[in-house]
Symmetry: C2
Subunit: 326 residues, 2 copies
């Protein structure tokens, strides 16, 4: 329950398959959190679910809510207030923030999920005080954020930072969804890629722990692979190391292009921590130019998988402040 419920905003991090929401006070205290799968093919059902999630948080803290912020997995046209193009969700062309404001009766703001995760990490987390940073959020897909000179860089149309659709393997696997490309980082490093690789091991090696889990009817998920990895299972460790090595190639490109102070890795996959970050750092040190590689720090998100939710709350509070002052 909230100490200061009157000061809370609600942050919602909408991923490619899940939403994480929380009531967040001005000191980044989280007073209630919830997490739910979202319907990804049906727009009315998606909007209904998001409305329910916000109402759940709102009634749980039993107090006033000042505003709602959404991080959405979508290129954003901020000039026109539109969700412009999503690889994962059927929200293209929707005035998403306006629609949700109407449903919720609250001031509602939106930005790209990758930008907002970086906003939280820059204001209060692993990139605090840095001038130049990049963040990758590894979930169903990959969200990205770019910090240049202490400010989020959004590109000419609000579409920048799509590191998930950076080609690192020209003839690699098809990316899928709304992305026409192949060999994208997202096809190799996301939570989806992690599950795909783990499932392949489970099928190829039925006597492995992954294989036995599959045979017993358990779903092969990112958390299962991570749990087995933390327990020392060699097959799970190999899958995580493989994902980490591809991440290392993505980091090589980011470091050679941006010469950043820090690259922050967040999203659900970061629960595996050093199990995939250590191989990623090794590949980075082998492949990147020495000067920027020796300068950069590659860090796990301070807020783990919650950076996006907290960033959505920070964004809503900052935008509300601007609206009030304007």
């Amino acid at each position: 329950m909230a100490d200061v419920p009157g000061e809370c905003v609600i942050g919602v991090d909408l991923g490619g398959t899940k939403a994480i929401a929380g009531a967040v006070d001005s000191r980044l205290g989280v007073h209630y959190r919830t997490r739910r799968d979202v319907p990804t093919a049906d727009l009315p059902a998606l909007l209904r679910t998001l409305t329910e999630i916000v109402e759940e948080v709102r009634s749980a803290i039993g107090g006033d809510v000042e505003a709602v912020g959404f991080g959405i997995p979508c290129l954003i046209d901020q000039d026109r207030g539109l969700a412009a193009s999503s690889v994962h969700l059927p929200i293209n062309g929707i005035a998403f923030a306006d629609v949700m404001a109407e449903r919720l009766g609250l001031p509602t703001f939106m930005d790209n999920d990758g930008n907002l995760a970086l906003l939280a990490e820059h204001r209060f987390g692993a990139a605090q005080g840095e001038r130049n940073a990049v963040m990758l959020t590894l979930g169903t897909g990959i969200a990205g954020g770019i910090l240049v000179g202490g400010e989020i860089y959004r590109g000419s149309q609000g579409a920048a930072g799509e590191f998930g659709h950076m080609v690192v393997w020209a003839d690699g696997p098809v990316c899928g969804g709304g992305c026409p490309n192949r060999g994208c980082l997202e096809a190799l490093v996301s939570g989806t890629a992690l599950v795909r690789e783990a499932l392949a091991v489970a099928q190829r090696k039925p006597q492995s722990k992954l294989g036995l889990a599959l045979a017993s009817g358990r779903e092969i998920t990112g958390p299962l692979v991570t749990e087995l990895g933390h327990d020392g299972d060699p097959d799970a460790l190999a899958v995580l190391a493989g994902i980490g090595e591809w991440l290392g190639i993505g980091l090589t490109n980011i470091v050679n292009i941006f010469n950043p102070d820090v690259v922050v890795i967040g999203g659900g996959v970061i629960a595996a921590g050093e199990l995939f970050l250590a191989p990623a750092r090794r590949v980075l040190s082998e492949r990147a130019l020495a000067l920027p590689a020796e300068h950069v720090e590659v860090l796990a998100a301070h807020f783990g998988a919650e950076s996006g939710m907290l960033g959505a709350a920070v964004f809503a509070r900052e935008q509300l402040g601007r609206r009030v002052r304007a």
Copy 2:
């Protein structure tokens, strides 16, 4: 000869194997230009050659020179005034601008060659008036420049913009020189890559025009391939299209990451113009996310292969102005 020689600065674009120098007035008029191969393995010989080139330009215009600017193929440590790390030249750790100032007796400034090519194109060329842009200069290697919000972005140590060392083919050819990486854009799209691919065709198809040129003792060079391509030779066209398709994958990454208004392509290879830009644009439209791909313009450098030289002159003039005002 100069109308206003007293107002000239000398710009020098130092590439991986060649230097282009010119005397440039304040309206970007070029009053004398020269181009010379440079010794790449021997630092004293390199510095001697660069001194000779500048003295040649200086005496040719028969007038005063206010300053000299060098664009060098090197990560620059501007805080310490050092050429920090070059893949191509033996200048690592050299206080390059100070050393040349001492030899020339003139105010001397340096920056990364890719940054300076973009500076010329942004102030007066293909990216004029744009807020967000990227430039690739395709020569012996690939130089890169990034414009964010109308300003050159240099990264935390002056090492940003190394698009040549962006991996697009994880298990592709070794990049070489001082780069430990493989499948870098530079290994696939530079002038060096163009010659390598053309030579392979010449050896594989001795009856082709490239093969006959090789048999007759001609050196297979970028300009030769470009000349044959403009004459409609199918083998030369295929080589240029292949280079263009790899460039298209590089552009895909740049557009998905930066959402820029324009990407400018310069350097010696741009003499082939649409012969490789058209295939590059086709691949970009096939592989990049639609929203930023439809927004971006991919343009040949307004100043062709001279952007770097002109940018070095613009930089020297701007830096001299700051020093005088300070």
